[in-house]
Amino acid sequence: MSASIGSTIVSLPDQSTAQMPKRTYINNEQGLLSWLLTADHKRIAILYLISITFFFFIGGAFAGLIRLELLTPQPDLVAADTYNKLFTMHGIVMIFFFLVPSVPATLGNFLLPIMLGAKDMAFPKINLLSWYLYIIAGAMMLSAIVLGGVDTGWTFTAPLSTHYLNTHVITAATAIFIAGFSSIFNGINFIVTIHRMRCPGMTWFRMPLFIWANYAASLLMVLGTPVLAVTLVLVALERLFGIGVFDPTKGGDPLLFQHLFWFYSHPAVYIMILPGMGVMSEVISTCSRKRIFGYTAVAFSSVAIALFGFFVWEHHMFIMGVSSYSALVFSLLTMLVAVPSAIKIFNWAFTLQKGSVTFETPMLYCFGFMGLFTIGGLTGVFLGSLGMDVHLTETYFIVAHFHFVMVGGMLMAFLAGIHFWWPKMTGRMYPETLSKLAAVTTFIGFNLTFLPQFILGYMGMPRRYAAYPPEFQVLNVLSTAGATVLGFGYMLPMLYLTWSLKYGAIAGSNPWQATGLEWQIPSPPPTENFAEIPIMDHEAYDYEWLANKTRNEVTTVG
């Protein structure tokens, strides 16, 4: 195995003598209960990984049905009502049950304490509580789906959601309310852990950029999610008792709902993307064997994105009759977000420059991220400018824009991270050739799906309709074909990663020759992470330190 990929930095131990460590967090305790009652952050991460994968495929199934319906101009696969439910549940499941917890709750949970040199999160039991809240919320959402679904759109737009629809709005809103608490507790746990649990010598500017990115995302979770919670409470009260806070006939204002909802839901897109950017920094540095170019700038750009992210929400409401002067200000602020995002992209590009770049699977996903996120981000600037927004908003251009950021960006980063840390989490490698095929398939499928949607949107095809004029059919067929390829690209990792649990090559503690603290302990790590609390005596991404360390080391596994 190691010979066939000899040109890369993957250094697997000699397979004739390789063995797994005897005591790991996986086999330390046995039985289902030991998992369900665990307070170990690594086990909780695995629980999350299984549950979000489940919801990812549910959300993906809805996406498949949407694309299948849009194959033909007429609503012939499902009726318009059912179509409304499909895109609503696709949105709710993907956003609240996959994207928001994706990287923080799985990779973040697993890695954050180890990267900081701590034995666990600050509040292990609250960490477990987060997962249970997520599961309760998920079960409620599933019951809402099974009982007949919701058709408000994931945005719960009032007064549509409060007065005009007779579907399971309250069940879905309660599910999101509870899932919100799961992410609030997750955020609190992260922030306290980062502030209080760093090992000796781990200063703020020695932390890996993954931590910085998750820190910024946690700030957004803690400050934004409660506002979503109160908004959903108001929607539920309005539905139940008809109190009229969003109802114009009683003096309420539907625009207030928009303000409250987007005050959370705009920062929420940064909750989703920031941890992915953290993964990018780790993978790009490791696979080009170079310290991240402009470490401080990348670290602060995460915080800047979090800060600016709170002052742009009105750009979702430009066509809703807000004051044109405030729209002007929000348009300017929206464009400012492009600055820290561009800082990241440029710094990653400069990290690659003159680095010893290798092309492992995680790196392929990262290249995908850099291209697709750039397109997604730049189209965001189009949408942030007032004149363009009037033309493009509520069309497929918007749909393509946020899928480029969320799927092309975040999902690529998530898969990059899963592949990159898979050997650490399981102790085994994934099959390299197959996974490269999956990465390329995903990239091709993605572009085929969403590039046509930019054109469709520009030509004026509105989002959220089951039918469309026949002249749009060619592009829609292309998009559906792309979605099929994309679906295939996502099924592959699911299959071969499961396969690798038993048959993958044994990875050893540091197959990537990476510098992070997590790579200096066995794979999979023992329950207490470190036998003795480490002292951080070097900068992050210090490859000379690693070279010195490995030179004097006898190579053993386990």
């Binding site: 600050a122 306290v192 999610t225 480490p534």
Partner: protein
């Protein structure tokens, strides 16, 4: 382990900071001090999320009060300001008892801690009792927003013996927005108190066992923060809801 990652001996760290290991010390913290700091920092962050939660409602209040000021004035004057004032004093006293309780835990005075926690809870219960009486009054007057809401008191105040200018039917409908915000905000506040009382019962039981008077005071301290937070929310609610346009000297 490896040479570059030097290690610290946990025992040494303990000796260095002069801390005694408590039974409540969790294994993943290096020192008891670290555990205590993490706990209180976590609590402050949680309170931050609570501020954001109430913030959404305060924001709605701000907007509607500006739009429908006459309705807000008249509706606010129908609130029972006596009960509101008594309740404010009760909560402040309750907060004072809680502060004494934290001090008692730190000074390891078990009987005082127990008494103060019970007093805190008792004052909270009286607050909620008075609050529910107030809610019942609103129910009798048909001032609960919804289908049974009655605006006649605001369109024809003279008929009820109230010295207020009558509102147009349109503006009188807006009193409903005030009462909705009143119920939503005080209701959320009351819900927080009910949860707080539940935790207090648990604290009283543990204080009775002497859990918090042997150097481990974190739960009392953190609950104190929560209880004071509820007090502070009320200190904003009281003037904003009850005192919009009261002039006792005129």
């Amino acid at each position: 382990m490896d040479s570059a990652l030097a290690t610290t001996d946990p025992a040494e760290v303990h000796a260095e900071h002069g801390h005694v290991s408590l039974p409540q010390h969790r294994h993943h913290f290096e020192t008891a001090e670290q555990q205590r700091e993490a706990g209180s920092f976590g609590m402050w962050l949680f309170l931050l999320t609570e501020i954001m939660f109430f913030g959404g409602m305060f924001f709605s209040y701000l907007i509607y009060r500006n739009w429908y000021y006459p309705a807000f004035v008249v509706a606010s004057n129908q609130l029972n300001v006596t009960i509101g004032t008594v309740n404010t004093m009760l909560l402040i006293t309750s907060g004072f008892c809680m502060a004494i309780a934290v001090w008692a835990a730190e000074m390891r005075k078990r009987p005082l801690l127990r008494t103060m926690l019970i007093l805190t809870a008792l004052l909270g219960v009286i607050f909620l009792g008075l609050k529910s009486d107030e809610y019942y009054e609103k129910y009798e007057l048909h001032h609960i927003p919804g289908n049974n809401f009655n605006i006649s008191m605001f369109t024809n105040p003279a008929g009820y013996g109230i010295k207020e200018p009558p509102l147009s039917p349109d503006m009188a409908q807006r009193t409903q927005v005030f009462f909705f915000l009143y119920f939503a905000m005080t209701g959320m506040h009351a819900l927080h108190m009910v949860i707080g009382l539940g935790i207090l019962c648990w604290l009283i039981r543990r204080a009775h066992r002497g859990d918090f008077t042997a150097g481990y005071v974190a739960p009392v301290e953190n609950f104190g923060l929560y209880w004071h937070f509820i007090d502070i929310v009320w200190l904003f609610l009281y003037p904003l809801l009850y005192l919009i346009n009261r002039h006792p000297l005129h």
